[in-house]
Assembly symmetry: C2
Homo-oligomer: 352 residues x 2
């Protein structure tokens, strides 16, 4: 297996862009631990290394990882960690780990396993859209295959045991990434996030836990995993995600009805800056691209598709930008290169 070098390309979970520009992608992950071994946070480096040596051959031999890649954290450069993080393949926690931690990625990046992150195993499945059941089935199939080869830590009463109590039970976290520029512009993103929190859902930013809603992208996921079946958890999340999407549609309609010029202004400014600026930070780029995505969804802009916007969302981020440049760049160099790339790429975009 060789490392995935597809950083320039669009991973499967960033394909088939939603014409409304609301639904981005979905993810299901299962937290699992190996029976008779301390959780990663309690295990020493030697024990983690031992477990990793034991797990990697087992995992790598499974069909989904044929032609895929294994990344050992102690062999990875900072830029690769950041790049895989931008591709949602590793968490901030795993990116901070060293010897004894690893990542397995299927060739198409739709399935992956983090080894010795917070738990021994974090099985992940990602796809475009918001259809969680097929993702759960894919993760579940991989989970079953691993479980036939490795004895998991399970409590007959509680279910799967995990390092953090919030994951005990199914060990399942399902999430949907939504693009919510309407709610943000209407000042309703905050209240909606609070409401979801009260209903037991977590809302996070583009790059997961502890990150901002860059580019108005929000990850909505279940919190509790205990005392419910996977289907129940997924069904409940799906229902609330549907409600948030309805909120976003409503916010857009109301904005267009009551403040059409303000919405047009937002899109016009975004296009103006993206096609004229000489220097641009990634946060600003993501924010402006969000306005462009809204403009495309509203049918206002030609010469640009949702899938191209997906490419930009990855491409403007620091590690992808440097990968494309073929060399590490200082922040100033990145800001300049990012602006140049966007200016060139968006030159043909026009108002309809």
């Amino acid at each position: 297996m060789t490392p995935v070098q597809s950083a320039g390309g669009r991973p499967p979970w960033l394909q088939r862009a939603d014409p409304e520009g609301i639904v981005m992608s979905a993810r299901v992950r299962l937290a699992r631990n190996v029976a008779g071994t301390a959780f990663p946070g309690w295990a020493g480096e030697a024990e983690s290394r031992r477990l990793c040596r034991r797990l990697l051959p087992v995992l790598a031999a499974l069909p989904p990882f044929a032609g895929g890649a294994v990344w050992r954290l102690d062999e990875m450069e900072a830029l690769d960690r950041q790049r895989l993080r931008e591709r949602h393949l590793i968490s901030a926690e795993l990116a901070g780990k060293g010897a004894g931690s690893a990542l397995l990625v299927a060739a198409d990046e739709s399935l992956s396993v983090m080894v010795n992150e917070e738990d021994h195993l974090r099985i992940q499945a990602m796809a475009p859209g918001r259809d969680l059941l097929p993702l759960w089935r894919a993760a579940d199939a991989l989970d079953t295959a691993v479980g036939e080869r490795i004895a998991y830590a399970v409590s007959p009463r509680l279910g799967y045991l995990t390092a953090c109590p919030s994951n005990v039970g199914t060990g399942l976290r399902a999430s949907v990434m939504l693009h919510l520029p309407g709610l943000r512009m209407a000042g309703e993103a905050g209240p909606v996030v609070k409401g979801l929190d009260k209903l037991g859902l977590a809302v996070r930013g583009l790059l997961g836990e502890g990150t901002d809603a860059l580019g108005n992208m929000y990850q909505i996921s279940n919190q509790a995993t205990l005392g419910a079946t996977e289907r129940d958890l997924i069904g409940r999340l799906d229902e609330l995600v549907g409600a948030v999407i309805a909120h976003e549609r409503h916010a857009r309609l109301r904005l267009l009805e009551t403040q059409p010029v303000r919405v047009r202004d937002r899109v016009a400014r975004a296009l103006a800056l993206l096609t004229q600026a000489r220097v641009m930070r990634s946060e600003e780029a993501l924010d402006l691209l969000s306005a462009l995505r809204l403009g495309v969804a509203l049918g206002w802009l030609s010469g640009l598709t949702g899938d191209q916007l997906h490419d930009f969302v990855l491409g403007v981020q620091p590690a992808h930008l440097q990968q494309e440049a073929g060399a590490p760049l200082t922040p100033d160099e990145r800001d300049e290169r990012r602006a140049d790339w966007l200016r060139r790429s968006l030159a043909a975009v026009e108002w309809v």
Copy 2:
């Protein structure tokens, strides 16, 4: 005399734009009070009205005000007060006054007198450039003419008596308005302002005391008026203004040398937003116009002159915008109209 209706036009002090885009305009004002009458702050309304009735015919009969205008504050609408403030003809203090206060303006607006502002008389002369001596001579001539007809409050030891001790002596305040985008961009505007403060100069914003340096425009003026001749005060101010101009030139050169792309980015973003935004507040417009003025001074932009930029500086301000519209507008309507006007007016501007 009829009210000045020239609000759409460019007053003399906003003409002959500096090719460097640094020096905007200069002003000299003399504070004078009438002997045997309480300062405006201590006088009751009846006394102020009486004094105003006595002063207006005397002033209006002087040659500079032939064909000019008299504004009585109690007869002025809010929009006119704001418009004359944007034209630097009345201060915030006078704009807040009512019966007993007035303004006389010469037809070309280069000379004016505020009656019952902080002092009984504030004689003002304005012109483009930074040449203070001719302005002082013009104000002095008017002062002499008034003094021949009205007995001023004078102390043989202190000089002219004024409501605020800081004006006692010559009663002279001279100021120069400078456009300092280089110092601002280099983060040196703050230190320069502090330095001037230590040297006894006051630095204020576009609209005078207590206002921000909108559009990177700074009014630099003398503080003390006691114990020095008018020529000394003006000479000292002129010397320090020259030093600030040299600082600004130096800041621009250094920015162009060390961060050329950042400067270009600033100008490019300004032009992009001014020609594409659908909604714009006056503060933002002034800020972006400052970048455009820099772009013109650097020879980067064609299809735009410094004098046109002067027009925009007045035209984007709320009262002038509404005067041009011929009707009072809500803030939202103003922001939309301002953006439309700028977009149309700047459509032909291009990179050289």
